[in-house]
Amino acid sequence: MKQNKRNWLLLAPAGTWFLVMLIIPLSVVLIFSFGERAPSGGVVLALSLEQYANLPARWTAFKNTMTLAPIGTLAALLIAYPLAYFLAVKVNPKWKTILLVLVIVPFWTSILIRSYAWIFLLGGRGLPALLDWIGIEGVRLINTPFAVLVGIVYGYLPLMVFPIFVSLDRLDKRLLEAASDLGASRWNAFLQITLPLSIPGIATGCMLVFILLMGEFLIPALLGGGKVFFVGNALVDLFLQSRNWAFGSAVAVTLVVVMLITVTIYMRLIARLGASRDDVAIM
């Protein structure tokens, strides 16, 4: 009984935080989403589904989020995997730590400032000007989905690199020797041993990046220039500009539900990929 009490004490700080910062706000948003817009902005509590019926008005934001988030995650994975592989397997151990630090160096500067750099790079006087100079004319990069994609892949790459690096780094190199000893070529050993054993890292990286991308608003705002916007941008607009809290809440609730459904499906898929016991610990 006493033991039990102490366990609860241990959970208390996190539990309180969870309650105050997550459960209560989420409940408030849920309640607001069934309300109506007050004449002067804000919300009047009610029990109507009107806001949800209105959702198609923000279809573009959902569409953009649901296409660019998965594509961005996939692109980040394709770029991060070879990098993580290089860092974990190929690089001289002497340099490993330094190179790993270099991967997170961009985090030392605010994403806001780094995104401004991209605005310049992709803007009229940046890359397009260079292309123009070598004879490829009329390329527009800034304020396109491509610009947003570049921005999010750039911003979230380290979050993909690290989990994959960890899973590759702790891979027992003798397993590859064993595979080679049993007649597997290097490529087959990679496909049959390295890749399956790095699935936990891939799964964790993809999950991290995907969830964060679903809620992204800064990069689309800066590099999409109001033309390519995410649900996050819609929320900022509804809560801060239009002051339509009721509709904003409905959009927010919908985003959370969509995210939960996607993540659940994703976890099922990963589990079915034949996750071994070690994988569970990481998820």
């Binding site: 027992d172 003798r174 397993l175 020797e177 064993a178 595979a179 080679s180 000893d181 049993l182 007649g183 597997a184 070529s185 087959n188 049959q192 041993i193 399956p196 054993l197 034949g274 071994s276 016991r277 070690d278």
Partner: protein, 373 residues
Amino acid sequence: MESVQYATKTDLVSGNAIAELRGVTKRYGSVLAASDLDLAIEPGEFLSFLGPSGCGKTTALRMLAGFETPTEGQVLLDGEVVNDVDAHHRPVNMVFQQYALFPHMTVAQNIGYGLRQIRPRIPKEQINERVGKALATVRLAGFEDRRIWEMSGGQQQRVALARAIVNEPKLLLLDEPMAALDRKLRKEMQIELQDLQRELGITFVLVTHDQEEALSMSDRICIMRDGRIVQIGSPQELYDTPKSRYVADFVGTSNFFDGKVVGYQGDLVSVRLSDGTVVEARSLHQVADGQDACVSVRPEQMRLSREEGGLPVHVHNRIFLGEHTEYLVTHAILGEFLVLSPRQTEMNDGPFNAGESLTVSWDAGTALVLEQE
């Protein structure tokens, strides 16, 4: 000058060797891991590389497997030089020290891995059948669908063994396969490995630092030190006729006495020990008058007696071992040494008590003059 010539190497290049090392040297930068190794492995034999860690035994094994390429010399398999043949193209399989089983595969998938790499593909039914047979051979029938982590250490070792033998390799390499097992299990596995080797007729090459393991299982042992092969021979040859003090010390236990050669007749050499006593010992190599010599006498060749005639000693300690009694005795100048007294002597003369003054003697033929290092 009369002298005795020692046969320096076991007849090395016999025509039908299944694997050979010819003048093989391996350097890692400035570190010499293996130096001028010459060795012919006979088909169907059980050969062990024995030596302390860092003696080059694992390097030798890894060169046979194809994980390392010799800096100099040639590695031959079945009469062909395979220096440039990758591990995955060699008809050789290895049981790794920590087994290196694939954690994301079932037992059957692990064992079938080698068979699945073969092109053109072997039909699935045939793979399953061979996997089943291999599992039965290592007495794990019915464990096909188990996960690796569900298996005990001993079982994992059997899986590793099955994964190697299922490919019917020309050479089965075992890298300290027993190191992770407890003592009792190790004994069992030693017997099983020997049975398995006889049953399959595959050539086994074992790497170990455990002399007991090497002695009990091998047809021949290749003793290594500092990257070199010191002596190759059957366990009995190595025990009875060690070439050097290093070998005599590594294979079994022995007492060593330093002295100088003062004469010889045939292969019997007279050596004056540091206390002035002159003893006779057999020499298997050439010696010269006045040369430093080391005389080795096995504890069981020594006789304890209350009578005169022998080295005068005091009994320091007595340990009763049943069949034998082990005495630690002290000589005023030569120091301490071990004597193993048979039960018969104990019954007739013994027991000898601690502190008692005795003499130690041995037959001239049982003492050996060894090469100085």
